[in-house]
């Protein structure tokens, strides 16, 4: 009896493994970022609309903000664009666009066509800063708190579910005193 049951059990186990594998492969974009809980990488990048002006991570200390890596060559960025526009309208958090590995002219054409939801856009032309952020797909979005700590990262297009369930609750949970302390 045993010799018939054991192969069956092994077979069922393998099927289970297969199902788990199929489920996980859906979420293979979820490579945990080692940057969560750490200080935001240092950068010093020109502003798209004012190339003479540079902003560093220190310019953003004092209030939470989103860093959204995007590029005009990225089709998924177009998919999430309405979601970001919607979020920007609510004034819930400032949104920093990080235009990476892109040409400023292409970026501007893209913004003219679809609208500019960003509070400010920084230009990472050679993609160095995107590497420091561990960006491997576009778009990627980081939530940074007032002290400059990365608290959340989303890979791929933002959705209103992600904003409602992941981002805004985290912003709401940030202590209001942080704002005063860092200023």
């Amino acid at each position: 009896m045993n010799s018939r049951v054991v192969p069956l059990l092994v077979f069922i186990l393998l099927i289970g493994l297969l199902l788990v594998g199929l489920k996980i492969s859906d979420r293979k974009t979820l490579i945990p970022s080692p940057l969560i809980g750490k200080q935001v990488p240092t950068f010093d990048l020109p502003v798209l609309d004012n190339p003479g002006q540079n902003l560093s991570q220190e310019s953003f200390l004092g209030k939470p903000y989103l860093v959204n890596f995007w590029a005009s060559w990225c089709p998924t960025c177009r998919v999430e664009h309405p979601v970001i526009t919607e979020l920007a309208k609510r004034n819930a958090i400032s949104i920093v666009g990080l235009n990476f590995r892109d040409l400023p002219a292409d970026a501007r054409t893209w913004l003219d066509r679809y609208g500019d939801p960003y509070d400010v856009i920084l230009v990472d032309a050679d993609g160095r800063v995107s590497i420091d952020f561990g960006v491997y797909a576009a778009p990627e979005t980081f939530l940074v708190d007032a002290a400059g700590i990365i608290v959340f990262k989303h890979i791929g297009a933002l959705t209103s579910e992600i904003i409602e369930n992941e981002i805004l609750p985290r912003v709401a949970a940030m202590p209001p005193t942080e704002r005063e302390r860092s200023q």
Binding site: K28, S33, R101, G127, G134, Y136
Partner: protein, 153 residues
Amino acid sequence: MKTFSLCIVMVLIFFLTVSVSAQEPLVFENQQQQDRFHQLTQELRCLVCQNQTLADSDAPLAHALRREVYEMLQSGQSNDQIKLFLVERYGDFVLYRPPVQNNTYLLWLTPLILLLGGVLVLRASIKKRTALLTNNERPDENPDGNPDEWPEN
């Protein structure tokens, strides 16, 4: 005429391949540095096409990371420093050979556990068969035995 146009196509293909291979002209100081570059890019994963190494992949990210590795080599950094640089940004997943640590013990030990399990099963079945053969008066009649007739545990 057909042959001629074929020749034209061949020549075009030749130039095409030349221009592709000339995309990343990396100049190394010496053979040793070049070997280290190839070894490193073979060991690092491209995170866009996750089953390809940095050396294999043609994704823009792979280009950027190869350039990063190349420049770090040029500036005299060790293999470990370069790997640490990438792990700090992309996590252990960037390494094709993950480090032995708390969350990878299972990964590293599973082959050993499976091997041990196999050895144990093999030993048990050899023992059973030996017992069967010594108990059997005429073992030659059924030399392979029938698994279903083996004594149960």
